[in-house]
Point group: C2
Chain length 226, copies 2
Amino acid sequence: MAGSQDEVKLLGVAGSPFVCRVKIALKLKGVEYKFIEENLHTKSDLLLKYNPIYKKVPVFVHNEKPISESLVIVEYIDEVWKGNNPILPTEPYQRALARFWSKFIDDKCVSAAWKAAFTLDEKEREKNIEESSEALQFLENELKDKKFFGGEEFGFVDIAAVFIAYWVPIFQEAAGLQLFTSEKFPKLYNWSQEFINHPVVKESLPPREPLFAFFKGRYESLGASN
Amino acid sequence: MAGSQDEVKLLGVAGSPFVCRVKIALKLKGVEYKFIEENLHTKSDLLLKYNPIYKKVPVFVHNEKPISESLVIVEYIDEVWKGNNPILPTEPYQRALARFWSKFIDDKCVSAAWKAAFTLDEKEREKNIEESSEALQFLENELKDKKFFGGEEFGFVDIAAVFIAYWVPIFQEAAGLQLFTSEKFPKLYNWSQEFINHPVVKESLPPREPLFAFFKGRYESLGASN
């Protein structure tokens, strides 16, 4: 349970979509926390202490109790700070669907979209473009005519999909790719605009320019590293 | 909510550890259901209707509402039939840990253990043996001196780990591999014996012999298919 003596820390890196999910959830719930910026090249003792298994961010630490895996963290935040702005629906079937689609985003969109942009091998690239497009089409269909995946307010699936709303448009531009466009996925595109301009989300996103420069650098070094 | 007019169906195949997770959860909750055996070579219209995205089993259908993904289904069952035998803990931090470890099993154990047994390439095989051993060691440590991952009664992590308790010993024998043994992982081994001999679990497992024969056939055809 949340209490007034809560100590809340988030270990993360600014540019990570997974860390951003946690930031959005905390902002939505109005939870004060200390952000500890990690350097993933030289993993800190704190990171190794709190996440000895994956040694990855985000790690959420509530009163010295650590949790990793962004979706597990977001669900925990929803359960502890449950008074306002629910993240998951209350009805069991709707909760199951929210969990299903969030997992779908992690399993089917994240890696495929990333590889579509940053794979040199043409065949592999094509395969990942096709897989990402298929996954985005499923999301386009699922959105139907709702404002957010969560309905009138954004929720668990929207938070999981911040990678699609904000990261994919940046890195596809850096890689000269037309993966997620308003022509191909009009509903999903409108959703993404609503979502990233929502005040809670907008304040939780990292600035675009350094992220774009990072992806551009990564894309341009692709040939060099092979 | 569960009601007396509930129609509960499970689309599955007998030999699947993921289907077995759902069977254990239903048995634990005392839910009556209709099992519909699927043939994954010729996907049925019912399967395509209820799981158009993955076209895979298990699919759980409650009053015509379908859910896929075994862990999502198990959590749904726990939320709907919540009166007795809780599957997830009630305390949010313990719930988060249960979700973390269940995901760990899916991400780190299932594919690595499978590939350790059924990969022809020696280097790839070695890599997967190492990864599986490392993952099993984390579980061995996590179990500590508890009877089950869930404590005195089995819960979400135990159900997720049925793959390790029952499937791994069968297919490692078929593949002549010593991946999960009582010498290497004594606590995990004791847990696996407790778990598969629990009356609820025992009645939910498929018979060993056809499973062993299937894996043996698969192992022996490895060379032929390459």
